[in-house]
Every structure is written in C-alpha cells, then in structure tokens.
Symmetry: C3
Subunit: 340 residues, 3 copies
C-alpha cells in the first residue's frame, strides 16, 4: 500500500466514475492516463505498471484477482428475489422439488422432473418432463430445458437460453427431408455458467455434454452430440456444429465457428471469427477462416495487406524481365554475330 493508509472504501467503481470513498483498479495499461486524475480514494494496480495517481495505491501481484476479491468482499453476489414456490408457478404432481426452493410466477415444471435443493427458478422458465437439476441451480427468466436433460449443481443459466432442442437431423428423401427423432439429451456438468440466449442441441442419440466449470457468454449455438470438456471459456456468438469434441480449458473466442466431427484439444485457443475446419492440437492457437496456426494466419494476413503492392511489383518485374530478355537476345546476337 502506498499513500494514505487510513482510507475507507464502500464501493468499487471504474477509473472514470469512481468518487471519494470508492475503490478503483488499473489492469490495462491503456487506461493509465485515467488513473492520474481519478477521484477514487484507492486504486488497485500491479507492480509492473508505474502510475502517478492521487489515490492510495494498493500494489497487488495479481491486480485482476485482487479487484475481483474486492468486489466480492464489498458488494457480494446478486441476491435473488424470494418467491418461495409462487402460487402462479405450475409444478406437476410427479415433480420432486428439493428444500428451500425459490420458484417464480409463470415457471412450469413437468412430470417426473427433479429439482435439487436451493433452486432459484425465475419467472417464465420451463423444465420439461424428466429433467434433472442438481443443487443450488439458478435459472434466469424464460430459460427452457427440454425433456430428459440433466443439469449439475451450482449451474447458472441466463435468460432465454434453450437447452435440449432438437438438432438439425434429417435424412434426405429425394428433395424432401425426413425428420430423425432426436432421442438423445444434454448433460451440463457442475459449476457451469451459460449466458443469455444460447441454444444447446440435444444429441440425436447419446448426449451433448458441457463439462464442469465451463463458462459460456451469449448467443452461442452448440450442435447435437458435441462434447465440451471442463473449464472451457466460450465467448459470444460462437457456433459448434454437431459431434465436435472440445478438450479441457479451451478458449473459443467470439463469433468463431467449428465444423462437425473434429476435435479441439485441451488448452487450445480458437481466435475470434475463426472458421475451424480441421482438428486443433492441445495447446495450439488458431486463427482465420479456414483456421490455421496463429502465427501462420498472422503472417498471411500481413502478406495479404501487401498483396496489391506485390501484384504491382510482379507486373513491373515481368516488364523488366521482358526488357532484359530482349536485351540479352539482342546483346547476345550481336556479340555472337561479332564472333561469327
């Protein structure tokens, strides 16, 4: 700690918006300038980022973790409304709901569904027949879980997400499409968090799986039968086709897409907007469409920028070579002639 160590803070806020009595943070060097005239009382900053600031500095080896802990300590996590089991929820007689349930108006829980302890199910959610939820699950409004899907404990799913809809499974019948019943399901592991408005297809047969600890942003599409490992991070608008396998702790950045029946290895990184058409090795980073090892992709993107100039140079070179050839042929002849 550097500066006034008697400072007290009651809230965390941004460099821009923080005022007296508030704690702020600087993790991105881009915003260093803002730190010099922040009105915050204290600033969390890393040891490698020298900064001049009127605020008391809290030097932390991992400022992002410190900032995160400070928010937890000062603000805590969201407290959900308390509905108990709201009389306007529809819970079938054969459903089993655990202790301390918190189920909002307009939620519907189907036959033989099992909901663990401490569930918070916001208004408008639909749990179909034979769905199973672990303990401490939070479903924000209008989440839909299709029949027979299973969700682990401490899972949070944000508003509007759909789990277990049928995938695009049809057999061609001339030009028509004959629907293949999608008899599989979805299994979501413990400690998963899924953003808003994601669509996770059930498997045709077997399961679509999302491994424990994995985190999804919004508007993500997961095709039928894909299997995603533990502790992965999927950014918004990612799309996986069917039967994709993703290892542990892989990151798939925004708007990337992955074709069916391939494997993304453990700790792999798929860059934003990448179009992955071949399996990715563990630990490998890929970029581009079609995706390639990131250094290759960057070298190509760099070269592409020079392409119009290259084309010009190629054209000039052709002219030059033509001129040279004429020169050589002309020069050559007289020379030979001279000797002939």
């Amino acid at each position: 700690m550097e500066g006034d160590d008697g400072v007290t803070v009651t809230a965390v806020n941004t460099l821009d918006d923080a005022g007296p009595g508030e704690l702020t943070f600087l993790t991105n060097p881009k915003y260093r300038e803002l730190a010099s005239h922040t009105r915050a009382s204290a600033l969390i900053v890393g040891p490698k980022l020298p900064v001049s600031t009127p605020a008391t500095r809290l030097l932390c080896t991992d400022p992002y973790a410190a900032f995160s802990l400070a928010i937890v300590k000062i603000h805590g996590y969201r407290v959900h409304p308390r509905w108990g089991i709201n009389p306007h929820a529809t819970i079938s007689a054969t459903a089993v709901v655990g202790a301390n349930a918190n189920i909002g108006p307009g939620a519907t829980i189907g036959e033989h569904a099992v909901v663990g302890n401490n569930a918070t199910i916001y208004p408008g959610c639909y749990l179909a027949d034979h769905t199973v939820l672990g303990d401490d699950v939070v479903l924000f409004p209008n989440v839909v879980v299709y029949d027979r899907c299973r969700i682990g404990s401490r899972v949070t799913i944000h508003a509007g997400t759909v789990v277990g809809e049928d995938g695009l499974g049809y057999a061609p019948l001339g030009e028509k499409w004959a629907k293949i019943p999608q008899i599989g399901s979805v299994e979501i592991g413990d400690d998963v968090e899924i953003g808003a408005l994601c669509a996770i297809d059930r498997a045709t047969v077997g399961v679509t799986r999302i491994g424990a600890g994995t985190k999804f942003s919004n508007l993500i599409a997961i095709g039928h039968g894909s299997k995603i490992g533990q502790d992965c991070m999927f950014v918004a608008q990612v799309g996986l086709a069917g039967s994709v396998t993703v290892g542990r702790h892989a990151t798939i950045a925004g708007q990337a897409g992955v074709v069916g029946h391939i494997t993304i290895g453990d700790n792999a990184l798929v860059g934003a907007k990448a179009g992955v058409t071949e399996s990715v090795e563990p630990g490998q980073a890929v970029l581009g469409a079609p995706a390639q090892p990131i250094n290759d992709a960057r070298r190509q993107m760099m070269a592409l920028k020079r392409l119009p100039e290259m084309r010009q140079r190629l054209k000039e070179l052709e002219v030059e070579v033509r001129r040279l050839r004429e020169l050589v042929e002309k020069d050559g002849r007289p020379c030979d002639d001279g000797l002939g």
Copy 2:
C-alpha cells in the same frame, strides 16, 4: 445381415455408448475403429464400408436412412405433455382454436387468432392478434408470433423463436432515424421446422416467406421481405439481410451471411461463414467472404497459405533480376565495347 440373425434390439445408441440389446450405426468412416470394439448387439453399416465388428451387421444401401427408420421404429417421435387447454393459458374470446388443442399454462392467444386442429402450444408462447396457424402445429415454449403472421400445417417451431418482429426499417432524417411502420407480415409454409431462438422479420410491405418443407437450425436471422423456397436447409447462425430470394432446396451452412436484394438459386450451396454479396446461380456452390465459386475460393485459400513464401520468392526474384540487369548491362557493354 451378417452374423447372429436371432438378435433382438430395444434401443438405438452411439458406437461408444451402445450396450447389449442395442442397435448402433456407422456412417462416417472416421469412426470405423470404434465399431471393432462396440458392445452393441447390431450395427447398421453401408456396403462400401468394410468393418470388423463383434456385432451383427445390417448391411444397408443407405445406412443413414436405415438408422433414421430404426430410430422412428424403436423410439418414435417425442410425445408432448397433455395440458388440454390449461386454465392458466389466456385465450381471447375472439380467437378460434381447433379440435384437440393442447395449450400450456402461460400461453397467450390474441384477438381473432385462428389455431388449427391438434395444436400443441407450450407454456409462455404468445400468438398475437390475427395470427393464423394450420393443423398439427407444435410451438415449443416461449415462441412469439407477431400480429397477422401465418403459419402452415405440420410446422414445428423450437423454443424462444420470434416470428414477425419489425425489421430494421428507418428513413434517415438528418442524423435521426424515422421509423417506417412495418405493415407486412410473415408466411411460413407447411412442414417447416424452425430451431430455437431464430428471428424472422416481418416484411415492410408484403410478406417474408419461408417455403414448405424448409428446415432451420438455431439463432438464424431473416431480414424483412426475404423469400425462401421449399425444402431448404439453413444451419445455425445464418443471417439473411432484407429482400433476399432463395430458391428451392438450397443449403446455407453455419454462420453464412447474405446481403440484401440478391438471389440464391435452386439447389445452391452457400458454405459455412460465407459472405454472399452477389447472386448465386442454381446449383452453384460458393464459399468465402466475399463468396465465390467454391473451387475458386479454395484455390485462393490454398494460394493464401503460400503467400508469405510467395512474397519471399518475389523478393529474391527482384534481387536476382537486379543482379542480372547489372550483369547484362556490364556484360553487354564490354562485349559491345570489345566489338566497337
């Protein structure tokens, strides 16, 4: 059939998960290895895919169709919950609902709406005033149909999809945007299936149309006034701008986008992530952004991989040509001089 022909199966399952008494299938050569140690009792396989397996082999000329039929035969299609007309549904007095309706709690049906026979409308769906649905329609939870849109018979729409919202129609008024009332509607043909969380704009005037038999995956955006033919297949996260025309039996792969006011011909194929900026001929396959005939696109992608190497070669060639020129000019002179 090859192997024990007295075998009985009661379920279809994947190569990995199938056990005794279960039927599995092999259509993708990639998974051949799995077939050799499957525990399934029987395996559907094509005649062109030699495979060693302990299971009884069912050789089928079209194994995918056979697999599909086996699922239908053994498992059948999803059986929906039975709500009758749930007392917690809100159905306006002027709506007309056909025989054998199955309408869940929290569904709302507006004034003058018409719902055909055997409708299954899951909880949380909203049918606005003057909407029309044919017979045997299934709307999964939280589907929203805006006013005056029309949906054919045997249509299935998955959870959260929105049909008939206003498109992005504004007239510029200096820097402001003046909203143009979107007075058109949407018409969805018979036997269409639409995935979860799709958004299908109503037309500004006239209709946005989705042809009979067409199938959509999830998170697809269709712009106002687009007209899609029969029996098309749209993969997840496809986006069509406004006033696009798509012919019969076209396939648009995942995350592809199509600009406004162009035509995609019958049986055309738009590759994954393609950005289509010009009309596509019937039967043509395109890829890339901007999209081009697939062979051209592939050749360019291949060439792009070699681009950094080409740049190096171009540089070396320039050096070589400079050296040659100097040589020719130097060689030439002495030669000429010698003769002069």
Copy 3:
C-alpha cells in the same frame, strides 16, 4: 405527379403485389422492370429514375422518405392489444407503475421497479427489482430486464431480448474460473429501438450504455461496459466485446464483430462480417477480418482473386529468369572468351 391525378389509394404494397387502389414505390433501380407492369394505381419514384409504368407517377426528391410518410399516413403504426393491468401479471407491491399502463398476462415486475406512463408490457416480460423505465416504453413478449437497469422514454424492445445479464467476467484461478460479481448495470437512452433476441451485458462495474436514438436489429451481442453513442444503426448478429466505445451515428453492418477496449468513431461504417481489431477513425469505413480501410480491403480482396494466377505468373517468371541467367552466364562467357 404524372398521369391520372384523380387516383385514390387505400394501401401501400410492393411492386409485385400491389393491385388497383394501391400505392407502390420504386427506390432500387434493380426493380425498374417490375414497375412497367405493376397493377398499382400509383407509384412513388425519384426524379433520377426514368421509368415507364401504367401507374400514376408521384415524382419525389426523396422517394424513400415519401414512401415512409405514405405508410405512416395510410396505415399508421401498430396498435397494441389493450390489457390494462392484466390480473395475471405479477406486480410487486413496491413497484411504481405510471398512468395508462398496459401490462399483459404473465408479465412480472419486481420490487421497487419504476415504470413510466403509457407503458405497454407484453406477456411474459420480466422487469427485475429496481429497474427503471421511462414513459411510452413498449416491451414485446418475453423481454427480460435484469436488476437495476434503466431504460429511457419512447424505447421499443422486441421479443425475447435480454438486457443486463452478467458478462463473461471471471478471474483465472489455476485452470478454474472465479466469478467476478457483475455489479454494474445497463442504461438505454430515449428513442432507442432494439430488435428481437439481443443480449446486452451489464457492466462489471459502471454501466453499459446505448445512446439515445440508436437502432438495433436482431440477435446482437453487446459485451459488458461497452458504450454506444446516439443514433447508431446495428444490423443483425453484430457482436461487440467488452469496453468498446462507439461514437455517434455509426453503422455496424451484419455479423460484424469488434474486439474489446477499442473505439469506433462518430459516423464510422463497419462493413458486414468485418472483424474490427483496431480503433476506427470518425467517418472511416472499414471492411474485412481483420478490418481495414474499405478501399484497402477491397483492393486486397480483388488481388486475392488474382492470387492463384499471380502464383502461376511468379512461377513462370522464375523459370524465365533462370533461363535468362543461364543465357547471360553462357552468353557472357563466350563473349568474354571471344575477346580474351
């Protein structure tokens, strides 16, 4: 006006579909042919677009604005159903709802929420605790607004959109992810219209802001802490990562993506499918992934089409230069030898 000036029209329709007594319009030269055999009674057209048509021509300097005004005049804007405050809506005792409220069945309004005058809240919407809505707001079915988010006056949000869900905020803890409470919120300015199924993250701390007058299409993802200026236009399936700043009156076309912590200037134009990785200057147009000034991007795309041919030319040039070098070295020697 050219033609029969006694004509009366009662509806606006497309060139294709308009019949007698209807008004149509021609703004895109592509459709000129259709105008020559339209059955419409009158046609709005610009002075620069000569057209032969049986309809009475209304020559307008800004035909798009005229068409827009004609729709407003003849058809007007959508009239919403009237629910008053429906008894099947759940409104908490501490919520404050303004005059003339129109709240559908199955809508839920949380504790201490404030809803301005003339609100239309369709069925299935959820306003969390401490949300604030201005006057004349329309929320179509199943819109979800998370706790403490604020929405201005005359805002329209289409079905299924989610405002204020948690962003992808986690601190790494080995391979695990520790959730950072997302204590910020979302502020949406006056006169904003948002399409269906958009997901707008709340800020981690501070606010995610959408400026007054901005218009969004469908399936758009906005990352936590992004700040969008006034009167922008975002086309379908756009994605912004976190902490992006967008100026006034910028246009972001379909399926474009923007990485975090950069700035898109006033009046900038981001082309369809662009992947923006660096800040964009005011007024600048960019295209491609990674995005570049539009003319550079187009030149590169053009050059890319020629790349396979360039590769061929480069190869031929190498052969030619090799031949020349041999010639020069061979020619040179005899020549020198001859003189030696």
